[in-house]
C-alpha cells in the first residue's frame, strides 16, 4: 500500500515536534522523510547556553536520538541541505542531488543570525551563536583567546557573554539600546540586570554602535571601532544582534514571504500542499523567536496534517526567562504599559528585587519581574486567562501564596525548594525527581510531567508548583497548559464542546457522542467515559440511560472502595439526625458482618469501613436505611447545627431546614461532590462558610453563600442572597445547583465553576432573573423526580451479578 509522502525540510525543534504530535495522532498515515543540514539528530537548541557555560554537554541536550527516527520509520537525511523545491513536480532536491517527491511538505528551516553589514564582518574570529557548531567554536576559542566582544545585549547575546566569561574570557557586550534586554525588560529591571552582570565581571558598552571590525595581517579579528571613533581590542566577536527567518528556499519556490513565510491559522502556506512552522514563518505579521509558540504551532499543524482539521493557531502570548544561572528575571505580555494602563510596582534596588505589574480594564496585561520570579508562572496564567482581577488586585503583588492557599501548594516555592522537598504530597514526588524527569525525558508540558512522575495527577493542588518547576527548569521552552483543555487524550474537543454537541444534537448514548465527535478511541477511556455519562444523564434526564460500565467503581457499586479493595458504607442521616432504633441496627450490622471499624464522618454521619463487596447488598438490607451517597459525584450531606429548637442562640430551625434540603436533593448526580450546611445563627457551628451551598440563619431570614470548599484549597463561600422564607431557601439553592449541574465541567467543584463564570453571572441567573430561577428550580425537580434510592434498587435485584463472584475454583 502506498502511503502519502510527507517531507520535512529542517531537523530542528519545530519540525520534529510537529512530527511527534502527528505520530501521536495518526501514527501510520504518512511515509515520512526528514532533511537536516546539520549532521546531528534533533537537539534542544535552547540549552546551548548551558553547554557553552559548561553546565551540560551535547549528549545531554539531544531530544530525539537516531534510534527514535528508526523506530518511528522516518527516512532521515542528515547533513543534506535542500536547495530547491519544484512545486510543479512536488519534489525537493538536496545539495547532494537527492530527490524526494512529496504529497505534503513541511518547511521548518528556522532562522539565521543577523550579520551586521560592517567592514570586517568576514574576518576569522567573527562568529554567530546559533547551533552546536557555533557553540563548539566558542568553546575552542575561549581556550586560546582572551578578549571577547558580544554584539547585542538581548537574550542570546547575554547568554553567550555569560558562557564565555565562565570559560575564562574577558567579555564586553556592545549594545545599541540604552538598556539591556529592552524588548523583555523595562529600563529599571534592565539596569538591575546590568548591575548584577557587572558584578560577575562582564563589561557593557550601551548606546553604542559598531562601525567596523578591525583585522590583522593574518586576516584575524583584532578589534572593534565604534561610531564615535573609539576602538577596543578583541580576538573573538560574537554576533548576536537578532535573527532573520530563513525564507530563501521558500521564496525561490515562489511561496509568498514577508519577513517570514506567510502562513494562515492552520500553518498552511499559499501552496495548500505546503505547511511551515517555527522561526521561519510569519503568522499574522509576527515571526516568533522563542520555543513555546513553535510548540503551539506544531500542535495545530500536526492536527491538520493528520486530516483532523479542527485546531487553529491564533498567535502566542510570550514570556521570557534568561538562562543565566543565578539571575532571575521574567517578563510577559505588555510589560511597558502606556495609554490606558495602570501599574503596580514594588521596587527594592538594594535588595535586587523589582516587580512591575501592568493592569488594563481590571485585567493583568503585562508583568516584569527581576530578582524574585517565583510568581512568574502564576502571573502568566492570570495574563493568558484574561481573568478579571476584582478583589485580587489588593493582593496580586504579594503573589499566589497571599491569596489564601493552605497545604502543599502554599508555602513551597519552586525556586527556593531543595531537591528533596516534596512537591506532590499525594504521590510522594519530590522536586529532584521532577527536575530529573524533565531533563532526562525532555518533558515540556504539565500533562507529560503528570504521566511520567504522577506529580499533580491525584488532587492537583500542586499543579501550579509543578508548572513553576517546569518553567524554571526548561526556561522559555516551557509550554503553558492551554486555557481550554481537551477532555482527555481521546479527543481534541473541550468539555464545553462535548456538552454543546450533546444538547444541540440530542445525543443520548456514549456511542452517539463518540461517532458524532469522531473520538480517536473506540470506547473512550477512564477519564472521558464518566464525564460523558454525567453530561448525558444531566442534559437528558429520563431519556439518556445511565451506563454502569462508564461509572467509577464507587458509583457503580454505591459504596466507597478502600485501599484493600473492601468498601465503606455510609447510610443517609438527613441533617445529621438519627434515632436510637437506627443506631441499634447499625450496631447489629457491625457485629453480624464483623465490620472492623465504625467511624463518625465529618458530614455528621456514621461510616462502616471494611465491608466485603459480596456483603454489601445484605448490609444495606439489614440496615434498612437509604444510601448516603458518600461515594459519588453527587449530593453528599447537609450538615446542621441544632438551631432554634434547642440552642439558646438559634434564630431559625436550622436542623429542619437541613433535613428539607437533603430530602429535596436526594439522589442528585452532579459534576463533582456537593456539600451543604445550615447554621442556626451567625456563630455558624455547621461551618456553612466552606460548603458548596452554605445557609446561615439570621433573625430576619436566611443568608445563602455559595462556592465554599474545605478540601484541597480552602475557599470561603461567597454571599449570594438573603431570603425570608425556607421555601425561598429551597428555590434559590436548587436554582444555583441546577445551574452548576448544567454548566460546570465534570470534576469541577462549585468554586471552580464560579471562578470560571464569575459571581456576577451567577447572581444574574439565580437572583435577578426570577422566571429563570423558577425554570432552573423546576428543571432540577424534574431531573430528580422518580429517581430510586440505589441501595433499595439493588436489594430489589438490580445489577445483582455485579456483587457476586463467579463461583470459586480450585
Amino acid at each position: 500500500m502506498n502511503k502519502p509522502r510527507l517531507v520535512v525540510i529542517g531537523n530542528g525543534m519545530a519540525g520534529i515536534r510537529t512530527i511527534e504530535e502527528l505520530l501521536a495522532l495518526a501514527p501510520d498515515l504518512y511515509d515520512i522523510t526528514v532533511f537536516g543540514s546539520e549532521p546531528h539528530p534533533n537537539y534542544n537548541r535552547i540549552l546551548l547556553s548551558p553547554v557553552l557555560a559548561g553546565e551540560q554537554n551535547f549528549t545531554d541536550i539531544v531530544l530525539n536520538p537516531l534510534s527514535w527516527y528508526e523506530e518511528s520509520g522516518i527516512h532521515l537525511h542528515l547533513g543534506k541541505t535542500i536547495e530547491r523545491i519544484e512545486r510543479n513536480n512536488r519534489m525537493v532536491i538536496a545539495s547532494d542531488g537527492t530527490q524526494v517527491r512529496y504529497d505534503r511538505l513541511l518547511i521548518a528551516t528556522g532562522s539565521s543570525p543577523f550579520i551586521l553589514p560592517v567592514p570586517g564582518k568576514d574576518l576569522k574570529g567573527v562568529i554567530t551563536y546559533r547551533d552546536i557548531y557555533d557553540t563548539e567554536a566558542m568553546i575552542e576559542a575561549a581556550k586560546v583567546k582572551q578578549h571577547a566582544v558580544v554584539i547585542g545585549g538581548g537574550l542570546l547575546g547575554l547568554e553567550a557573554a555569560n558562557g564565555l566569561k565562565l570559560r575564562g574570557m574577558d567579555v564586553t557586550v556592545v549594545h545599541l539600546a540604552e538598556t539591556l534586554l529592552e524588548r523583555q525588560l523595562d529600563s529599571t529591571a534592565g539596569t538591575l540586570l546590568q548591575k548584577s552582570l557587572e558584578e560577575r565581571g562582564l563589561k557593557f558598552l550601551l548606546s553604542t554602535s559598531t562601525s567596523a571590525i578591525l583585522g590583522n595581517e593574518a586576516g584575524e579579528v583584532a578589534g572593534l571601532r565604534f561610531n564615535d571613533g573609539s576602538e577596543i581590542p578583541a580576538d573573538l566577536i560574537v554576533m548576536a544582534a537578532g535573527i532573520r527567518p530563513n525564507t530563501t528556499l521558500a521564496e525561490s519556490a515562489g511561496l509568498h514571504c514577508n519577513r517570514g513565510i506567510i502562513v494562515n491559522d492552520t500553518l498552511q502556506t499559499f501552496d495548500p500542499r505546503i505547511y511551515a512552522v517555527g522561526e521561519c514563518v510569519s503568522h499574522r505579521g509576527v515571526a516568533y523567536g522563542l520555543v513555546a509558540p513553535l510548540f503551539e504551532q506544531a500542535k495545530v499543524c500536526a492536527n491538520h496534517l493528520a486530516l483532523m482539521g479542527i485546531g487553529t493557531y491564533k498567535g502566542s502570548v510570550l514570556s521570557t526567562k534568561l538562562k543565566v544561572t543565578g539571575i532571575d528575571l521574567f517578563s510577559a505580555g505588555d510589560f511597558l504599559g502606556g495609554e490606558g494602563t495602570e501599574e503596580i510596582v514594588l521596587s527594592d534596588p538594594a535588595g535586587g528585587v523589582y516587580k512591575k505589574l501592568v493592569i488594563k480594564d481590571d485585567q493583568l496585561v503585562g508583568a516584569c519581574l527581576y530578582g524574585d520570579t517565583a510568581d512568574g508562572a502564576w502571573y502568566f496564567k492570570l495574563l493568558r486567562e484574561g481573568r478579571k482581577l476584582g478583589d485580587l488586585r489588593d493582593h496580586i503583588m504579594f503573589g499566589e501564596t497571599s491569596v489564601g492557599d493552605v497545604g502543599v501548594a502554599g508555602h513551597n516555592r519552586a525556586a527556593t525548594m531543595a531537591d528533596t522537598d516534596e512537591v506532590c504530597g499525594c504521590n510522594g514526588v519530590c522536586k529532584g525527581a521532577i527536575v530529573k524527569a524533565i531533563t532526562e525525558k525532555g518533558l515540556f508540558t504539565l500533562d507529560e510531567l503528570k504521566k511520567h512522575t504522577k506529580a499533580a495527577s491525584s488532587c492537583g493542588s500542586c499543579a501550579g508548583l509543578c508548572e513553576q518547576i517546569l518553567m524554571s527548569t526548561v526556561g522559555t521552552d516551557f509550554q503553558a497548559t492551554p486555557k481550554t483543555k481537551a477532555v482527555c487524550g481521546c479527543t481534541d474537543f473541550s468539555h464545553d464542546d462535548v456538552r454543546r454537541a450533546i444538547r444541540e444534537h440530542k445525543l443520548l448514548t456514549h456511542n452517539a457522542v463518540f461517532d458524532f465527535l469522531e473520538w480517536r478511541t473506540p470506547n473512550g477511556c477512564a477519564t472521558c467515559r464518566p464525564a460523558i455519562n454525567y453530561y448525558l444523564i444531566s442534559t437528558w434526564p429520563r431519556e439518556a440511560v445511565d451506563d454502569p460500565q462508564s461509572r467509577f467503581v464507587n458509583e457503580r457499586v454505591h459504596a466507597n472502595i478502600q485501599k484493600d479493595n473492601t468498601f465503606s458504607v455510609v447510610p443517609q442521616m438527613k441533617g445529621g439526625v438519627t434515632t436510637p432504633d437506627e443506631l441499634r441496627r447499625i450496631a447489629d450490622v457491625a457485629d453480624k458482618y464483623h465490620i472492623p471499624m465504625v467511624k463518625v464522618t465529618g458530614g455528621q454521619r456514621i461510616d462502616l469501613l471494611g465491608v466485603k463487596k459480596e456483603d454489601l447488598v445484605n448490609v444495606w438490607k439489614d440496615l434498612g436505611m437509604k444510601s448516603g451517597h458518600a461515594y459519588g459525584k453527587s449530593i453528599r450531606t447537609v450538615k446542621t447545627c441544632v438551631g432554634a429548637e434547642f440552642c439558646r442562640f438559634g434564630t431559625q430551625n436550622s436542623t429542619q431546614m437541613g433535613i428539607d434540603l437533603e430530602t429535596m436533593l436526594a439522589n442528585m448526580w452532579s459534576p463533582h461532590k456537593v456539600k451543604l450546611a445550615v447554621s442556626g445563627c451567625p456563630r455558624n457551628c455547621a461551618e456553612a462558610g466552606i460548603k458548596d451551598v452554605g445557609v446561615i440563619a439570621v433573625d430576619s431570614g436566611w443568608e445563602l453563600y455559595v462556592g465554599g470548599n474545605g478540601g484541597i484549597k480552602t475557599e470561603v463561600a461567597q454571599f449570594l442572597v438573603k431570603v425570608r422564607t425556607s421555601e425561598e431557601v429551597k428555590e434559590y439553592t436548587a436554582a444555583f445547583l441546577q445551574l452548576y449541574r448544567e454548566e460546570a465541567h465534570y470534576l469541577d467543584r462549585t468554586v471552580h465553576y464560579l471562578e470560571r463564570v464569575g459571581m456576577e453571572y451567577v447572581k444574574k441567573r439565580v437572583v435577578d432573573d426570577e422566571a429563570g430561577r423558577r425554570a432552573l428550580y423546576e428543571r432540577l425537580l424534574y431531573s430528580l423526580e422518580g429517581l430510586a434510592d440505589p441501595w433499595e434498587a439493588r436489594i430489589g435485584g438490580v445489577q445483582q451479578r455485579e456483587y457476586i463472584p463467579i463461583k470459586a475454583i480450585a
Partner: protein, 108 residues
C-alpha cells in the same frame, strides 16, 4: 491468544455472564482472577491485582483493550498484563478460550 501446552481448560462462565466493557471475578485461594469482556466480546483474564498497589483490576473501567485500576488509575493492557507507558509493571495473564459462548480458562 497463546494456547497452553497442556489441555487443562477449566470452564469459568458464559460470555453473557460478563457485562460488555466490564468484568467478573473468579474466586481462587491463590489470588482472585478478573475476567474481562471488551466491546468486541473478546474475553481476557488477569490476576485481580494491579502491579502498582494491588488494586482490584476487576473493579476498573474497561476501555479498548485496557483496564484502568480503580485505586490510582494505572492502565493495564488486557491482552498482555503489561502496564501502559510510562508506568512500568506487569500482572499475571491467564490463557482463555471461548467455545460456543462458554469461557474456559487455563490455570497451569
Amino acid at each position: 491468544m497463546n494456547m497452553p501446552l497442556t489441555g487443562n481448560w477449566t470452564r469459568a462462565c458464559e460470555v453473557e455472564d460478563i457485562p460488555r466493557l466490564g468484568s467478573r471475578v473468579l474466586e481462587r485461594a491463590a489470588g482472585n482472577i478478573a475476567i474481562f469482556r471488551n466491546a468486541q466480546d473478546q474475553v481476557f483474564a488477569l490476576l485481580d491485582r494491579c502491579p502498582h498497589k494491588a488494586g482490584a483490576l476487576s473493579q476498573g473501567i474497561v476501555h479498548g483493550n485496557a483496564v484502568t485500576c480503580p485505586l490510582h488509575a494505572w492502565n493495564i493492557a488486557l491482552d498482555t498484563g503489561h502496564a501502559c507507558a510510562p508506568d512500568e509493571g506487569c500482572t499475571q495473564r491467564f490463557p482463555i478460550k471461548v467455545e460456543g459462548g462458554e469461557v474456559f480458562i487455563s490455570l497451569d
